[in-house]
């Protein structure tokens, strides 16, 4: 009997073995097969473990209203902030934008507090809240600059969204909105088209891996209608034509404390801990019409993974994935320098900034024409 070791159908060598040679050969074959199979199993599990593909988490929490009678929007945002901190995202990875005129408002009967439950059970303001954009800094321009990263060089780190292409970002907006727009601080609006374009810029600059967008305003679903970038999942508290309602007034403070959607969202998040395996499909069921009066909506068509396999902690928590390995990896090969000829994409601007340290503001409004063309368009 001829025993041939084949490599893709090509006979490498053929022997005419004796019986013990056959047994040895079979053993070796089985051993190699098992080795490869086990390796595959390992990588499958590893593959499952690293399914989400992100390595860090960011949160951008924005409350777009000011004034005492919009107490509930600040309480909404601060409650989400608390949950997100509890689940592990540190302040350095949270960009919190609030008008911040509630806790120290002259009308607040309990100064330096913002409550989210009536009878003053839960003070969400506390001692360790870090508001990054406060007061009149919460504007559409600043919000878009935070998202796209186009901030002046003097902006401190706490005010920047320093995400990369392996960041999962949670964006939470609340305030007063309408069909296709969201009102910022009673003086300006952001439209759904602007928001979609900002997300597209983020995608092109590889500033996120996956993005979860939650909005709790009237007619919130209109804000995610125009998204077109991949890896976006969106939730809204009400459909177009519906109003999001507030939950409970507190008679001692004299204002409504929270909105319904965020109230039930928070009840849901209270059950989440860093190692829970609850997935997004359960998040979509939060606050049905019977509780919320408005119909919450969601959008997952741009999201590449199946929402049933996306963990809540992928966005709300900062779950570090640690793999202990016993192997040694050789890191001696040097890093390759950036090629001179690169693809003419949005990275151009990045390069300009890095190479010439031109402040972003100058690039926006005044660009020395020759420099830009010569250095940046080598491919033309």
């Amino acid at each position: 009997m001829l025993l041939c070791l084949t490599d893709g159908g090509i006979a490498l060598f053929c022997v005419n073995p004796t019986s013990w040679q056959i047994i040895v050969f079979i053993y070796i074959y089985i051993y190699i097969y098992i080795y490869i199979y086990m390796g595959n199993v390992h990588s499958d599990k590893a593959g499952q473990f690293f399914n989400s593909g992100h390595t860090n988490n960011w949160a951008v929490l924005v409350c777009t209203s000011r004034f005492w009678f919009n107490y509930r929007h600040v309480a909404n945002t601060l409650s989400v902030y608390r949950s997100v901190k509890r689940l592990g995202i540190p302040d350095s990875r949270i960009v919190l934008m609030l008008a911040d005129d509630m806790a120290c408002n002259h009308r607040n009967p309990k100064p330096a507090t913002v409550f989210s439950h009536k009878n003053m059970e839960l003070n969400v303001y506390g001692d360790d809240v870090e508001v990054d954009y406060r007061g009149y800094e919460v504007t559409v321009e600043n919000f878009l600059r935070v998202l796209t990263g186009r901030l002046p060089a003097s902006t401190p780190r706490s005010k920047r969204l320093l995400s990369d292409d392996r960041s999962n970002i949670l964006i939470y907006l609340t305030g007063h909105g309408g069909n296709g727009f969201l009102k910022f601080q009673d003086s300006e609006e952001i439209s759904n088209v602007e928001l979609a374009d900002a997300f597209e810029q983020m995608w092109q600059k590889r500033r996120y891996n996956e993005l979860l967008f939650i909005i709790d305003t009237c007619q919130g679903a209109s804000m995610y209608e125009r998204f077109y970038s991949p890896n976006l999942m969106a939730l809204a508290s009400s459909q177009v034509g519906e109003d999001s309602l507030s939950h409970q007034p507190d008679l001692a403070i004299g204002v409504h404390l929270m909105d319904r959607y965020t109230f039930y969202l928070l009840e849901f998040l209270e059950d989440i801990h860093p190692s829970s395996t609850t997935n997004m499909n359960q998040l979509f069921k939060v606050c049905p019409k019977s509780q919320c009066v408005s119909t919450p909506g969601h959008r997952t068509d741009l999201f590449l993974r199946d929402p049933g396999r996306v963990l809540i902690t992928d966005f709300f928590g900062s779950v570090r994935k640690v793999e202990i390995t016993m192997e040694t990896i050789n890191l001696s090969s040097p890093m390759e320098p950036l090629p001179e000829r690169i693809n003419c994409t949005v990275h151009i601007l990045y390069m300009c900034i890095n190479k010439h340290i031109i402040p972003t503001a100058i690039i926006m409004y005044y660009v020395p024409r020759q420099k830009l063309l010569r250095d940046v368009f080598p491919c033309t």
């Binding site: 002259h106 009967p109 007034p249 001692a252």
Partner: protein, 613 residues
């Protein structure tokens, strides 16, 4: 070609205008009156609603506990008031200081042009006492005012008591974002005028007051409280202010919202609310309420201490406690809670009340008619004047020729300027006399006739008013017999003058403009020298402003369900005239100058036209 530029069409239009003038005028008049009456019909009105976002709903918990203590303070106040025979300044200052307010006083004095029945003397002197509750954490940029008048006798003691009780309760709260000023003013409106002038550093009425030592910020809203009994059965809201100005409707909405929440019966114009708008009696009830508001607004006087705030663009209303024979009584604690709730909501304001209407009529506390709905009623009446003017213009531009005995066609000469100017000047001079003489000549009148100064003033006014009707003789003396063209030109001028006058009046004070229009417009439309003289003279006198006022007085008493006899009505009429003159001198009310200097001369012009030949 266009409708007006095509000569044929224009002639046709003009022809129709001249032929159908009288019927169209009649129809317009009836439509105007019907529109006005229809305003009270409930399906044509809108339900009141809160427009200001910052005031939101009534979700605060009122916790004012000390109603009984407030009443005890009121009794103390009454005792001290009796002892000092006026305003117990020292006691008030001490009490307010004990409650932790910054207390200041202001002295004022005013020389009245003539003594009225209340004061019975020329010089009024008084003191206002006010305490400022400073907002614990806010800058002193805005303020709210709560005031109660210090009235002689047994009136309004409980109001002052509740004011002091609320001051004590408010002082222990930390959520005030505005200063609250607690004001006790003497001599009602005179004291209030002095305080407001001192606060805003203006001096429009020639009053003498000491400057205010302490001040809050700019006042956002004010409430004036009048309460003369320990328990009340209902609370009445008074909105009408000086010159017919009304506060923002949101203030009334706020009041009603809290009345509903706390369960107190609330009324406006003293009329109880009813649900049966589809019955005749229900509709007439609504009409009565609206007519009361119209008459009060037309009188141009402030119907509560709040009325003077409105001139400074401060939204203010008066709340009167009414104790009638109903079984369900509300105690002082509940009234205190209602005021506490209102002030807590006013505290939330970020800017002055401006979201809701400033011009409205209220057939009941829950229903209102805004200016867009009631102005067409006046517009229809003003249209009559314009149609008449057009008619006269057409007649004047194509005068009918006369043939003299010679058979020569003579176009009548256009009237000289003098024949038009004379009646104008004479009427206005009579008006000026009516405005100035009564007050100036009171000493003269008192010397020669056995009357008091007030009566002297009023009777002089009436005398000048009736004497003016002889003015039609003077122009004949000066300019000779009037011509056909002459009276037409004069009537054209007079009609346009009346239209402008009534239009401007209606814009500022719709009720006054409408009531004047109701009587003067038919007059203006149909007076010519060719109508029967005696009958027209009687009709003219009946429709003159003076008698309109007399009828209005009787009607007002009728609506308030306190009808008066002829004698009483006449005395009331005289006092109304004297009050009008006094209001003008003291607070700057514009009814008396308007009537004397503009409306009366206009009426005299028509009188001249009647007696042209």
């Amino acid at each position: 070609m266009g409708l007006l530029s095509d000569p044929n069409r224009r002639r046709a239009l003009i022809g129709m205008l001249t032929r159908l003038n009288a019927p169209i005028c009649m129809i317009c008049y009836m439509a105007g009156v019907a529109w006005f009456m229809g305003l009270a019909f409930e399906p044509f009105t809108l339900r009141t609603y809160m427009s200001e976002n910052a005031m939101g709903s009534t979700m605060v918990e009122e916790r004012f506990p000390a109603g009984e203590r407030a009443l005890a303070t009121g009794r103390e106040f009454a005792a001290h008031k009796k002892k000092t025979g006026g305003m117990p300044v020292d006691w008030l200052v001490r009490t307010m200081q004990a409650r932790g307010l910054e207390v200041y006083t202001q002295r004022f004095s005013r020389k009245l042009p003539f003594p009225d029945e209340d004061k019975e003397r020329y010089m009024v002197k008084g003191t206002n006492v006010y305490g400022i509750l400073r907002a614990p954490r806010a800058p002193r940029t805005e303020a709210l005012v709560l005031s109660a008048p210090c009235s002689p006798g047994n009136e309004n003691n409980q109001a002052v008591g509740i004011l002091l009780g609320l001051a004590q309760y408010f002082r222990s709260q930390i959520y005030w974002a505005k200063d609250i000023i607690f004001l006790v003013n003497e001599h009602d409106l005179i004291g209030m005028q002095a305080w407001l002038e001192g606060y805003h550093h203006t001096n429009t009425t020639g009053m003498d007051w000491s400057p205010l030592q302490g001040r809050g910020g700019s006042i956002q809203a004010a409430l004036s409280l009048e309460l003369s009994s320990d328990v009340v059965t209902s609370l009445d809201l008074v909105l009408e202010g000086l010159n017919g100005q009304l506060p923002n409707l949101d203030l009334a909405n706020l009041f009603y919202a809290f009345c509903q929440k706390i369960g107190v019966l609330c009324t406006t114009q003293g009329k109880l609310p009813r649900n049966d708008w589809d019955t005749t009696s229900g509709y007439s009830h609504a009409v009565q309420t609206m007519m009361l508001m119209v008459l009060k607004q037309a009188s141009s006087r402030p119907w509560g201490d709040h009325g003077l705030f409105l001139r400074y663009h401060i939204e203010a209303a008066s709340i009167k406690g009414v104790n009638s024979f109903r079984p369900y009584k509300t105690d002082a604690t509940t009234v205190g809670r209602l005021l506490e709730g209102m002030y807590r909501k006013l505290n939330n304001l970020l800017e002055r009340l401006h979201q809701s209407y400033f011009f409205y009529l209220m057939p009941s506390l829950t229903r209102f008619v805004s200016i867009g709905y009631y102005m067409p009623a006046f517009g229809l009446l003003a249209l009559i004047l314009l149609l008449r003017a057009l008619d006269l213009w057409v007649q004047l531009s194509s005068p009918p020729t006369r043939t003299t005995e010679d058979g020569v066609e003579v176009v009548p000469a256009s009237p000289g300027v003098l024949s038009i100017l004379t009646p104008l000047v004479i009427s206005h001079l009579t008006g000026v006399a009516l405005y100035t003489l009564p007050v100036l000549s009171q000493e003269l009148a008192v010397e020669h006739f056995p009357v008091s100064e007030t009566e002297a003033v009023v009777l002089t006014a009436i005398a000048i008013y009736t004497g003016g009707t002889r003015s039609h003789d003077t122009h004949r003396l000066l300019a000779g017999e009037g011509t056909e063209q002459g009276w037409k030109v004069l009537k054209l001028v007079a009609v346009l003058y009346l239209a402008v006058l009534l239009g401007c009046t209606a814009l500022i004070n719709f009720s006054l403009g409408f009531i004047l229009a109701l009587t003067l417009v038919p007059l203006a439309a149909f007076i010519t020298p060719h109508v029967p003289k005696t009958l027209s003279a009687v009709v003219m006198v009946i429709l003159s402003p003076g008698l309109t006022l007399l009828f209005a007085v009787f009607f007002f008493q009728e609506l308030q369900e306190t009808p008066v006899t002829l004698q009483e009505g006449w005395m009331l009429y005289l006092s109304v005239i004297s009050q009008g003159i006094l209001d003008h001198a003291l607070y700057g009310s514009l009814l008396y100058p308007l009537a004397a200097l503009l409306v009366y001369p206009c009426w005299l012009l028509f009188w001249n036209i009647l007696f042209w030949k």
